[in-house]
């Protein structure tokens, strides 16, 4: 955490921010990104950067476009009918929209976990974890390698000790919080460089929420995490940086400590102090 000016990349060149420190440079950055549903512009000219090995939170009131924005980062937005994206997003300096990368390749490098747990109900716990590796066919891991990946991924998701004796049982028999951690394990199994979480604890009880928040703290050591949440306390607890969105635009993006103690924009201050939203 150095000078807030260099980390606030709202109106500045993403490349400049990267020069500060190779490790802390933005792994994922957007440039004047716009997202549409038909004629409705849900995300407006968003230029923001997410450093590697940090947890970045995106906050804002309901309908501010934060989920849509997140879905642009792994090209999930375009799977919705009538949806369109303008501008660009860069993964490690390479365009995910205009380069050679297919949407499939992008999603393998940038994993995603949704608001409601989505284990595949026809698969066992083990098969859920390796579901993303299945599509590799013959290039996929051997049985032994797969076993290792299952253990590693479930370990990173903090679920291994709870399920190691029932890997072949149905995934829907797990509790909601366990299902969500299974989804995180499933997303981690393909070794993505970025993990996007869209309100991952919104449907969970406080205990499960805490478990997942502690998990994010561990994940930050190895991966870039972007979490959308409408829970400001959660953003304050888990994130290193926070981006505040309002009506599709980024109002402010800064280290979380500064966002919640000394925001530059009066609208940010009004939101984080609970005066609206």
């Amino acid at each position: 955490m150095t000078n807030p000016q260099t980390l606030t990349v709202r109106h500045d060149d993403a490349a400049a921010a990267r020069t500060t420190q190779p490790d802390a440079g933005p792994l994922l950055a957007t440039r004047r990104l716009n997202a549409y549903f038909g004629n409705m512009r849900a995300v407006r000219n968003v230029t923001v950067a997410f450093p590697d090995r940090e947890v970045s939170a995106v906050i804002g009131p309901s309908g501010c476009g934060k989920s849509t924005f997140l879905r642009c980062l792994n090209r999930m937005h375009e799977t919705v009918p009538m949806a369109a994206v303008e501008g660009d997003a860069l993964l490690d300096g390479v365009s995910i929209y205009k380069g050679d990368m297919s949407a499939i390749e992008v999603r393998r490098q940038i994993g995603m976990v949704f608001q409601r747990p989505t284990p595949f109900p026809t698969m066992s716990i083990r098969d859920n974890v390796v579901a993303g590796l299945r599509i590799l066919g013959r290039d996929g891991p051997s049985r032994k390698e797969a076993d290792q990946i299952v253990e590693d991924s479930l370990g990173r998701a903090g679920l291994w000790t709870e399920v190691k004796d029932r890997l072949r049982e149905s995934a829907v028999a797990l509790s909601g919080g366990q299902q969500q951690r299974l989804c995180i394990a499933r997303a981690l199994a393909t070794h993505p460089r970025v993990l996007l979480l869209d309100e991952p604890t919104a449907s969970l009880d406080p205990g499960s929420t805490q478990t997942i928040e502690e998990l994010l703290y561990e994940l930050r050591k190895t991966i870039c995490v972007v979490i959308v949440t409408h829970n400001m306390q959660q953003a304050a607890r888990v994130s290193d940086r926070t981006t505040f969105m309002l009506a599709g635009e980024v109002v402010e993006s800064a280290p979380t400590r500064i966002m919640f103690t000394n925001p530059r924009d009066s609208r940010t201050e009004a939101y984080v102090t609970g005066r609206f939203g």
């Binding site: 792994n74 999930m76 799977t79 009918p81 499939i104 390749e105 999603r107 393998r108 994993g111 995603m112 949704f114 409601r116 989505t118 595949f120 109900p121 026809t122 698969m123 066992s124 083990r126 098969d127 579901a131 993303g132 299945r134 599509i135 072949r168 149905s170 989804c183 499933r186 997303a187 393909t190």
Partner: protein, 290 residues
């Protein structure tokens, strides 16, 4: 409570009585709904069982009016016709249902959905005439394959619509989860969406099979029926409904008894198919995790 008191105990009692009466009526309706099946089963068991023995399944039909004999050819014929019909109706129906669910808003999907509903309501005798006109007449003879195609065509709209409904029940979030893992659209559809909807689709397919297994009208002009043993798809073939029909309109009591027995076997065939398929879908989860 106070307000209840104000309205008076009489009205409370009358509400209880009304509730009792309505409950009684729905009980009656529920019992009546199962009554036809119960009556049919009881009657079939009483009339049909005395003609069902090993002979019924292994013997060929005796000439009309002669006692004894069985329906081996008709049982095999019906199974063959169901197989041909399923081979045509299931893949086309499931594929079309998948298409309708995936492209639900397109003009083509709307047209297909409407036509499939029309086809669903088409009288089966019309389907028989259609198959006769386009298959039997050009080929110059009745055949099992013509009967199978007529039955298969009847299955298509049934399977299409149930498949579409079942796939629509799969939450969008599941589809998105697969896409977010890097699954392609078609792989998501086949391995996640279709697989999740499978138990419902199997049930729909069973309903379709059960429906066509007893169809008689489309077979009159196509499979025709056959008093002899035949498993050739190019020849006329016997079928249980046709055999039942032939025996039922004959003047002999023994033939009538055979018709009852045939009806019982037909119901049992449908029952066995249902149970097998249920068993198959239930055990699939254990199989897939191996």
């Amino acid at each position: 409570m106070a307000r209840d008191e104000g309205v008076g105990p009489m009205s409370r009692r009358s509400r209880h009585i009304k509730s009792r009466v309505m409950l009684g009526l729905t009980y009656g309706a529920a019992a009546t709904a199962t009554l036809p099946l119960l009556l049919i089963l009881v009657h079939l068991l009483r009339e049909g069982t005395k003609y069902i023995g090993v002979d019924f399944f292994t013997q060929m039909p005796k000439p009309i009016g002669e006692a004894g004999g069985g329906m081996a050819n008709a049982i095999v014929g019906t199974l063959l016709l169901i197989s041909v019909a399923s081979a045509i109706g299931l893949p086309i129906g499931i594929g079309a249902g998948l298409f309708l669910a995936e492209r639900r808003g397109s003009l083509f999907a709307t047209v297909v959905r409407f036509l499939s509903d029309v086809l669903n309501g088409l009288p089966s005798i019309v389907m028989g005439i259609f198959a006769w006109e386009f298959l039997v007449r050009p080929l110059g003879h009745f055949s099992a394959v013509a009967g199978g195609i007529a039955l298969g065509a009847m299955m298509i709209p049934l399977v299409t619509r149930t498949t579409e409904e079942m796939i629509r029940l799969v939450p969008v979030s599941l589809r998105e989860a697969a896409l977010a893992l890097g699954y392609t659209r078609w792989r998501t559809s086949l391995t996640i969406v279709l697989r999740t909807a499978l138990p419902g689709i199997v049930t729909g397919a069973l309903v379709a099979v059960a429906r066509i297994a007893g169809e008689t009208a489309p077979l009159l002009f196509t499979a025709l029926g056959n008093q002899f043993w035949s498993t050739s798809l190019g020849e006329p073939i016997a079928a249980l409904p046709l055999q039942i029909f032939t025996y039922a309109i004959s003047p002999y009591d023994t033939a009538h008894g055979q018709a009852w027995a045939g009806a019982l076997v037909l119901i049992l065939v449908v029952l066995v198919i249902s149970l097998l398929a249920r068993f198959a879908t239930r055990s699939r989860f254990q199989a897939s995790s191996d």
